[in-house]
Each structure stands twice: as C-alpha cells, then as structure tokens.
Amino acid sequence: MKFCQLDTVVIGGGIVGLSTAIGLLQAGLEVTILDGADSDLRASHGNFGLIWLQGKGAQYGAYAKWTSKAVNLWPEFAKLLNEETGVDVSLRQQGGYELFTDEGEFSRFANELSDQQKILGADFEYEIMNGSSMRKKFPKIGPGLVGATFSPHCGDVNPLKLLTAMRIYFSKLGGRLISEFKVSHLLPFADEFIIKSPNNSQIIANRVVLCAGLGTTELGKQLGFKTEVHSQRGQLLITEKILPTLPFTSSTLRQVDEGGIQVGGTNEVVQYDDRETVKITAKLAHHAVTIFPSLKDVKIIRSWAALRVQTPDGYPVYAKSPLHKNAFLITCHSGVTLAAVHTDCLASWILDKNNAPDLGGLDETRFAL
C-alpha cells in the first residue's frame, strides 16, 4: 500500500477543478489534482464554449450577480492565460444573440431579461429585436426567425484551448495533476482526510475540494454534503471549415475560430448516456437552416453529445462541509463562463480571507429539508 501526505487536494480535473486549483496556487498553496478515468463523463471536453450572461439568474439574484462578475473578469483572464501559456483561447466578447423560432419562447425569454435587468441594473444591457429588424440587419437570416435578444456582455471561447491553457498554467504554477486516480473513499480522520482509490493507492490531505462533476454526489455524501447533481445531455454538430462568415455569436450557432460552425443548445434529461441521437441532431440541423437557409449545402462533419452537471435548481453550489473543517464542494452548470470568477475569487472563500466573496446565496443550505 502506498501512502502520500499532501496539503490541498482538488478532486476532479475539469474546468471547475482547474480554475479552483489555479486560484489556490496563486494564493501560495501546494495543490494536487486527482482526476478520474479517461472513460468518465466530462462536460469540460464536450461543451459549447459560451461566455454567457443573458438569462443567467433572472430569478435568482446571487447567481445573476456572480455570473455578471465572471463575464466582466473574462478579458483579463484570457489575457493572463495567453501571457502565461502562449495559448490564445480565442475569446470574442463583442456580444451575443439568443435566436428564437417560437413566439412563446421569445416572449418568455424577453420577460426573463427584464427580470435580470431589475437585479443587475446598470451592469446589464440588452436589446430585444423582432424577426424583421434582424433580417434588415442580417439579410441572410431566413423567415423562420421570429425574434432575437442581444447582450453586449456575452461571447465565446474555444473550450478545448481553454482546457489546454488551464492545464499548462496549473503546471506552470507548480500544481501536480494525477490522472487515472478515481477516488472511491474519502475518510475524515482527525483534522485530515484519507483519500482512497479502488487500486489501493492512499493519500492523506489537509484540505479537500470536491470538483468532481457528475461524481460529486457520491463523494460529497461521505463528507456530509447534501448536494445532489444530475446529468442533462446536450448534443452538438459542427460543419466543415469555412472562411469567417457567421456575422455574430449566438447561443445556438457560432463559428469557432478554426472555421467550423457549431450548432447546439439542446437539453434532455437522460441518465449517464452521452450518445447522440438522430432525432436531436436532425433538429439541430433544422434550426441552423431555419436561421441561415444558405447553410443547407454545408457539410456536417461531426456530431457529439456531452452531459451537463446540474444541481436541483440549476444554480451553482459553493459549500463548506457542515462536519469537517477544510472540506469544500464546488459544482455548477456553466463552468466555462464561471472559470474567470472561480480562478479569481474561490481561493479567498476557501481560505476565509477578508476579501472573500459573499457566497451565502449559493451554499447548499437551500437544499435542506
């Protein structure tokens, strides 16, 4: 049996674990990430790459404000990653559209943005446009678009370059990543934690931060956390590479920096099944040609699905264990958008610093019976 004594251990090496770990390294801690198996379901490897504020937390002020803070931090965060790693994550934050082909959905979303405006005030700008004014502005849009909303705070990144950049930066700051370490047991012992994997490796840590995506519920229970996450499948398509042509970024259609046009935005509640289906991929293709009919001859070269990590109410959870000092649980749905604020603020919250953000509205007491 192998033993190893470590200071801070982050469990999970996806975007959430990496952004948290980077913040802790910047704060001067010694950090090790234990990341599970390559066969794990990993949202960070299959997402759409949006940096998005529209609609986020329209009914929940704490989330709206936290997301607003994140989008404002993004330009600086992308610059830092580029300087430190040489990887350009291709941040484009010139605003983004939500595109609607259904009147009911359009008016519901417009109402949500007005609620979000009440929460964020001057920190939130948006516009509502009907189909014909969109067609006037973008003449190649088809007759099926009934309306759109626009917010200048939104944008996108290349999510795989983001993951690469964060891994490089994490190592550069002295972080250690142990992959293929699937934690099965987390045992509090005195003020420390014994971390075990099925192949009998054992680690003793002073501090554990759970960022295990869909593995969070199982591990959390062992430390007295109540948060339960579930999966929600999203499917995506990407076209052949095209010279830059899509005139904007939207939450369902965006052109990635390398040229492909990505189509996404579906939601299905399924268990742990990350296969794509013909029914949904056909729906995505249909949406794309409804918005831009001239996409009809463009080839789709790949389709895939990935599982979102969802909390019961869809808002993030930042929780300190009720039983054990130095045990933390972090999980959220929009880990790409929030990466900037996670890197910037979570270390001070974990370390109880004076400048720690107030995350009271986002702890797990809201799930208590």
Binding site: F138, P139, K140, E240, K241, I242, L243, T245, L246, P247, E258, G259, F292, S294, L295, D297, V298, K299, I301
Partner: protein
C-alpha cells in the same frame, strides 16, 4: 497525367472512365474509388490543410480521417474515398476553407 507505378491493376474488362484532376485528363475503370483513381493517376498531395497549409493525401480510405478532401464537380470538401469515380467528373485538389457568404444580401 502519367499512371503511377505504385498501383498495378488486376486484369479488368470494366468500362473505361475519364475524368479531370486539376484540369488534366485522367482515366480510371468503372467502379473505381475516386481517391484511389486520383492517386493512381499520379497525384501526390491532394489537399492543403486549412490551418497550417500542410500538404496531405488520402490516408485511411474508409471515411474517418478526412485527409482525402477534394473539390468534386465544384463542391468543396468532398471525402473522395467515399465516392465512386464517374465519367466526366471534374476533380480539383482541396484548397483550405470553404467560402460561404452569410452576411451580404444575395
């Protein structure tokens, strides 16, 4: 174009096909795979990559690597290993990203 000596054909009484590759007349047999026909006609690099502009040629011959992309009858990015050669086909080497206009009214 000169037939490439990397390929030798089993005796075949199938119909002769002619097509052009980058403007040059080439011959093949009915039923030939288009990527093979282009290689057999002597081509070396059949496309350049979209990002780094490296030269590439058909590789897996089974539809998964996307190295065999060429322009067939004016349609860019065709996977030629998945297409049968036809009489009169106009084939050009792949040149990078497709052009498409989503901005200006037509």
């Amino acid at each position: 174009m000169k037939q490439d000596l990397r390929f030798s054909r089993y005796a075949s009484n199938l119909e002769d096909i002619s097509f052009t590759y980058n403007g040059e007349k080439c011959t093949a047999k009915a039923g030939d795979n288009l990527a093979t026909a282009v290689l057999a006609a002597g081509a070396i690099a059949t496309r350049i990559t979209t990002i780094f502009a490296d030269e590439r040629a058909p590789y897996c011959m089974m539809g998964s690597c996307f190295e065999c992309l060429m322009i067939v009858n004016g349609i860019p990015n065709c996977q030629t290993c998945m297409i049968e050669v036809k009489n009169g086909m106009i084939v050009e080497s792949g040149f990078g990203k497709r052009k498409l206009d989503l901005e200006v009214a037509s």
